[in-house]
């Protein structure tokens, strides 16, 4: 028994020894990820920069698809049934999560009021793109802190979301205070300029008010009537834009990277050839029938003639006429380019320069919005024609900037794409918008609103589409709510869209799996299917001219 006593005491000593040696007090430090910054320590500036850098000028065409005919992708599938869920995921898990964190951090600090207000405005802008893509989306229960996060948030009604947008924009604009600190250089849009942010909030409210005017005119009126020109983005200086930089690949214009990474000119031309200038955009620039008016000088900056790389550098603008038609589904290529793949107008190389403006919201859009508001009586006592012309002029200035900024980078780019034998000066000279051309265009009837109200609206929207480019999401929204521009869509045997452009995007597949209950609730509100042709709340214009050249019958919601 003595032996066992010994064992006992030994093990006791050992155990005691261990307990004194061991301690778990280092554990927390060991289990702390050195790369992770806590919410207390992360600066609002970092979070805002992260959002603006990530989203740039807004959801890209790759996120939303090209449904209004601005661009046509040569890969034969302009209307892809399932886009990747990049826009959805980035909005929720990155952009709006960052913005929600800024709002949480700055909530109770009066000195931080501008940082909070700008985050609130940004959040409305980003969420508005989301709901315009999908319809009802998780909003009030989304983007909580990790502690309070709701794993399967409910889908809110688009109307409720829009009402909150207007409330947020009004409150945030009112909060902005010139005497308090702002983001400064961390804000890539405005350098923290509080006055400009106020104009942005108001201009965004104007945009969103027009979105809803067919669904609820009163809401639209309430949010437009209190705005005057002075509250809005009306000059080039007020424009919200972000510019890519030429330091590293990730910061450059992605379109440029595609070219620059091509092995030889043939491969680079191939990349350029993959984005065709869409019929809707070119029709707006040129007119759908043989043109009699002077050429809109923006056309040659925006697009190239069909045979640029051949003999004709200074052609009659009829050569822009072979326009790519957006077609549904997998169709033989010859249906898509009736004159052969090489006959189509491409976007000009000015869209491929490494440093390019990525517009968020510009004065041209604001003027066209005011023109529409004046036209339909949302504001009174104003001449829509004046705004319409100002809008065109603003767009010409923007296009002029595209040319001027791109000009310096063009020699390199042309050599990359067309090799060394290309006559750069001749090209730049042809592309330059001469003042005489601008004057001639501005004097032409195209820049004057004429005809019935509806015809005038079509003129406004067609010009707005040009000014909006490359904002294809906003272009799609304009098409959905007004029916303009008249997009040519064709039917093919596999099409499930019956010859019409989609009116919304499918919810991400993952939602069906991990948020099935709320997903189903939202789908049930659309009539039971997550349908591309269902109309969202604001998409309520029953008079839109759906007799497109493709002859498509009107279908009511829900689609059956």
């Amino acid at each position: 028994m003595k032996a066992y006593h010994k064992i006992k005491s030994f093990s006791f000593i050992l155990f005691a020894l261990f307990l004194t040696v061991s301690c778990t007090k280092d554990f927390q430090e060991e289990n702390t990820n050195p790369a992770l910054v806590s919410e207390e320590l992360v600066a609002p500036e970092f979070l805002l920069s992260g959002v603006q850098y990530g989203i740039k000028g807004g959801m890209s065409a790759a996120d939303v698809g090209n449904y209004c005919g601005m661009t046509v992708r040569v890969d034969n599938a302009p209307f892809v049934d399932h886009f990747d869920d990049g826009a959805w995921n980035a909005t929720y898990t990155s952009y709006c999560n960052n913005l929600a964190a800024i709002i949480r951090k700055t909530q109770d600090d009066p000195e931080m009021v501008n940082k909070k207000a700008i985050a609130r405005i940004m959040k409305v802008w980003i969420y508005s793109q989301m709901t315009d893509i999908y319809g009802d989306i998780p909003y009030f229960e989304a983007n909580k802190s990790p502690e309070e996060a709701i794993a399967s948030p409910k889908y809110d009604l688009q109307k409720d979301i829009y009402q909150d947008f207007f409330k947020e924009l009004k409150e945030a604009a009112a909060e902005l205070d010139l005497s308090k600190a702002s983001y400064d250089d961390a804000d890539f849009y405005y350098g923290g300029d509080v006055t400009k942010w106020k104009k942005f909030a108001n201009s965004l409210r104007l945009r969103l008010a027009l979105h809803v005017r067919y669904a609820d005119e009163q809401i639209a009126k309430d949010n437009v009537s209190d705005l005057s020109e002075a509250d809005l983005i009306t000059t080039r200086e007020d424009d919200a834009s972000i510019y890519t930089t030429d330091d590293i690949e990730a910061n450059r214009n992605p379109a440029y990277n595609n070219i620059a990474n091509g092995a030889d000119p043939a491969e680079r031309q191939d990349y350029v050839g993959h984005q065709l200038a869409g019929k809707a955009l070119l029709d707006a620039l040129i007119g759908s029938s043989p043109p009699t008016n002077p050429l809109d000088p923006r056309t040659k900056v925006i697009a190239d003639t069909a045979v640029l790389n051949g003999a004709t550098l200074n052609p009659p603008h009829a050569l822009f006429g072979f326009r790519a038609q957006p077609l549904l589904g997998n169709v033989p290529v010859e249906n898509k380019y009736p004159y052969g793949a090489g006959s189509t107008s491409l976007f000009s190389l000015f869209w491929y320069v490494p440093v390019i403006e990525q517009p968020v919201l510009r004065s041209s859009e604001v003027y066209f919005a005011l023109a529409e508001a004046a036209l339909v009586g949302l504001i009174s006592g104003q001449d829509p024609n004046v705004y319409f012309k100002k809008g065109i002029e603003a767009s010409i200035t923007e296009t002029q900037d595209l040319y001027n900024k791109g000009k310096e980078m063009m020699p390199n780019l042309l050599e990359l794409v067309y090799g060394s034998g290309f006559d750069v000066n001749k090209f730049l000279d042809y592309k330059e918008m001469k003042q005489s051309e601008i004057d001639a265009f501005l004097a032409s009837p195209v820049t004057m609103l004429t005809g019935s109200k509806e015809e005038q609206l079509e003129q406004i929207i067609n010009q707005k589409i040009i000014a909006l480019y490359p904002n294809e999401l906003e272009g799609w929204t304009e098409w959905r709510r007004t029916g303009y521009p008249r997009v040519l869509v064709a039917e093919n045997e596999q099409s499930t869209f019956h010859g019409v452009s989609p009116r919304r995007q499918h919810y991400p597949n993952n939602e069906r799996l991990v948020n099935s209950h709320h997903f189903q609730e939202a789908v049930d509100r659309m009539g039971g299917t997550d349908d591309l042709l269902s109309r969202m709340w604001w998409d309520a214009n029953t008079n839109a001219p759906h007799e497109h050249p493709g002859s498509v019958e009107w279908r009511a919601t829900p689609w059956k």
Binding site: L36, S38, W88, N510
Partner: protein
Amino acid sequence: MKRKFFFKSALFICTLFIYLIPLSAQEITVSGTVNNGDDGSPLEGVTITVLETSKHTTTDAKGKYIISVPHGKARISFSYTGYNLQTLEVNNRSVIDVALVASSKQLTDVTVTALGITKQKRTIGYSTQELPKKDLTNARDVNVANYLTGKIAGVQVSLSAGGVGGSSKVIIRGISSLTGENQPLYVVDGIPLDNTKYNEGQVYTDGRDFGDGISNINPQDIESINVLKGPNATALYGSRGANGVIVITTKSGKAGKGIAVEVNSNVTVDKLNLFPKLQNKYMTGYEDMNLYGDVVTIDGVNYETIPDWHFESMGPAMKGQLYVNPFVFDPNAPPTTFAMEPQPENNVRDFFEDGLVTNNSIAASGGNEKASARLSVNNTTIKGIIPNHKENQQSITLRAAANITSKLSIEGKINYIHKKSDNPPGLGVFSSNNVVRDLAAMGRYVPMPFLKEYYEKTGEAGSWPAISVNPYYLVNENKNSADRDRIIGFVSAKYQFASWLSLMARTGIDQYTETRRSRRPVGFPDATSGRLVDETYFTKETNSDVLLTATKNNLKNLTASLSVGAAISKRSYRQQGWEGLDFKVPGIYDISNARQVTPYYSLVEREIQSVYASGEIGYKNYLFLNITGRNDWSSTLGENNYSFFYPSVGGSFVFTDAFNLHSKILTYGKLRASYALAGNDGDAYLTQSGYYLGTTPFNGQSLAYQSNTIALFNLKNELKKSIELGTDLRFFGDRAGLDVTVYKSNTKNQIVPISISTASGYTTKIVNAGNIENKGIEIALQATPVQLRNGLRWDISFNYARNYSKVIELAPGIETFFLNETSQVAQIEARTGERFGNIVGYRYRRAPDGQIIVNDDGSYAREDTLSILGNVTPKWTGGLNNTFSYKGFSLNFLIDFVQGNQINSDTKYRMVANGTGKFTEQYREHSEPLPGVVEVKDADGHVTGYEPNAKLVDGQTAWSYRAWGQVSEEFILDGSFVMLREVVLDYTFQPTFLHKTPFKSVKVALVGRNLWYIEEHMQGLGISPETNLNTSAKATGVEVFSMPTTRSYGINLNFTF
């Protein structure tokens, strides 16, 4: 030699004579030395049991023992792992020296259990299985883990997708953790080995298999491998042992005559076995005919170009048609024509070369009573089957032991390994680095010699339709290398307070630095502006433990032992490096040449502290009770949940001894039972949320992003509960044995990152939830049906294991957990109430009579709802091993079985979609309709009947639509196979032959491995049923352009002097 032997024998006989004179005492003391019958070296730890009294002892380091036996007719037995049991009549001798003969049997008497404690097998209440010793003698596979294939019941070893030199995936008793580690813990000489794999292949991202940790161990250094299967066996290894433990003991120096030198040399040639079978009839294109090419006029004749966006081989039959030649060096030269002709049948297969593996080791060992040491040096070279893949590993091991005083002994080992890997194959389905994908999906009209010539002349990839990247360029210019320097070592000291009480203290280290370099030239598909990655992985693991052991054998009818210990284990994984993109000057692979540089750094540290105890009480050497308990404190858990405790209890009952049932038929019978819990901690950093900073600034501003994971602040440990029952029976002396185990385990409270709605703001939430149940049976049978006096002997061993994994529960509100979320073919999931690892996808839509329904366009229809199409876990696995020996010859062949599992084949998907598979030669050119029926509908669109399908289709409709339309059923393959895994013919030269030479032993073996699928169900596709994308649980059953499997033929030479 001969003289020595004669002298020894004479001495032995004299001794016998002397002790034949009867003595009159009641009890006598017998002593002696136990030696290895092969080389005469002393054996330590041999158990000597007096059969009449059950009294037992073990030999010391010099092989010496002393035991008292009753006077009169007494028998003593000598048992030792890996050697034949020997029983002798004492006949009143006081000195009995014994030479034990190595056995080839698996059911030996002692075994190395947890913490390196050697136990008599009869005392333990759970199942362990030792790798037969002779399987270790011929080094035949570079990776030690592959030795286990087919040999141990319940252990499944899968080959890696990376081919020779790659990692092995070992699963014991099924998958039990959804996302955690499912591989067993490797313990070498009592010290856990780091087996981390960095950046293995994934479905969509680039990855490469640079080999796992276990592949660094020199097979020639291994003395024994023992597999502890369940948590019952492994409770004492703590959380990392929850999936089983593979206990490896390396060789040590033996006290003996001078220095013994052992040389082992092995050369193996790897020959390509299976490669996807490709069609050789149809060119690139679509819809049988349309090329949509441009028209070019050559000598007044118009020819079509082949458009560069062609990736499918769904064009017309190749009949010498003329096109504009795309295979030219100068695109600006006047165009020429190209005749569309079938290329040689094996043009793609011939891309592969023969692999060559050499493995040379030399070891010297020696020692005396005070000290012993063993030094070994090993060099392994691998030349892979794709051009430019080569690896080289050197290892030096010194192991030494010394008795400082009669009470204090110390021991230590240091093992240095250097491994250099160049260009192991890239993995994954969409990785432009995977040359197998490249080759199997490439257009069938492509002249391979041109691609080779083009690369050799220009150093460039070139660009042609239906080729993702020139494979010659890929393997030569996309370079990836790794350099690993590793040190594994330990020191331990043991103090023997008394014969019954000892204290052992030990500390071990496993540390390696691996430098990897990866470069992509400018223009490479996934890094068009050029890419360079330099990164270093620092991996370090230290383990220190103390163990106090007391044993008491001299109690009345009772034996008892108790071990109490404590351990600290620290692991750290540091990765740092940079990625450089956007080269200023093509062809310069230095970070200064990159315009965009992203540095990165990550550090994971974790620590576990433990105390544990293990006790055993034996009654009359036939009834034993084992109890263990362990408490761990793990740094990766929540602040209030660091500590977790888990006990085990086991019992063993040798009923043949208890009831004295010894008969000629049943020699030995034991029943065992045990119940155990095993805890498991989680990965590091699951307990906090926060923000990540972007690595590259924009306009001079820093960017931050919220982490996408919702942490679980109160993270708790997983807990695996396991119960097992078993029996161990031996018949006809030692001629036959049967070991049967049934078990059930439940792994609860799993640490699972569940996918949540991204609208929450996060993608993933960490939860503690779930319950996965594994039930199974394992049978190991061994027998010696023939053992003749002339030396002819036939040994047979067979093992069988059946495991059923079921998902009892997942997290609340979560019905399914996807194991592979990214396959194009189908998803593999864990769904509540279902078998773990179901493959879920779309079936063909069928008429009530089972015929497939054909769409209006002539293609096959699929259902709209998901169905279970199979399961990735096998229903049963097993192995059959036969050895015939005669004189010095021995012929061994091993067949292993895996049955009842399905494979999700992305390779077949690509072969169908692209029309490169041989089988896609059917239904082309509108020649015949797909077999099936079409629906007959009434005016309202209701189906009223079916009629045979008559619609003629093109190849694209017949084949590509199955892939594009996601008819998953088409791509699920039956993974069952029976393989002739190993054939070894060896010859051991007889001592009589060697006595005039300096050699003590010489053995030559011819070895064949992975020789022949006796049975497989891969539809003749040329895909191996065996490979996995990577070694994680989620990659089980995912086949994604794996490296083709090889047959290996080798020769092994082993001699000692």
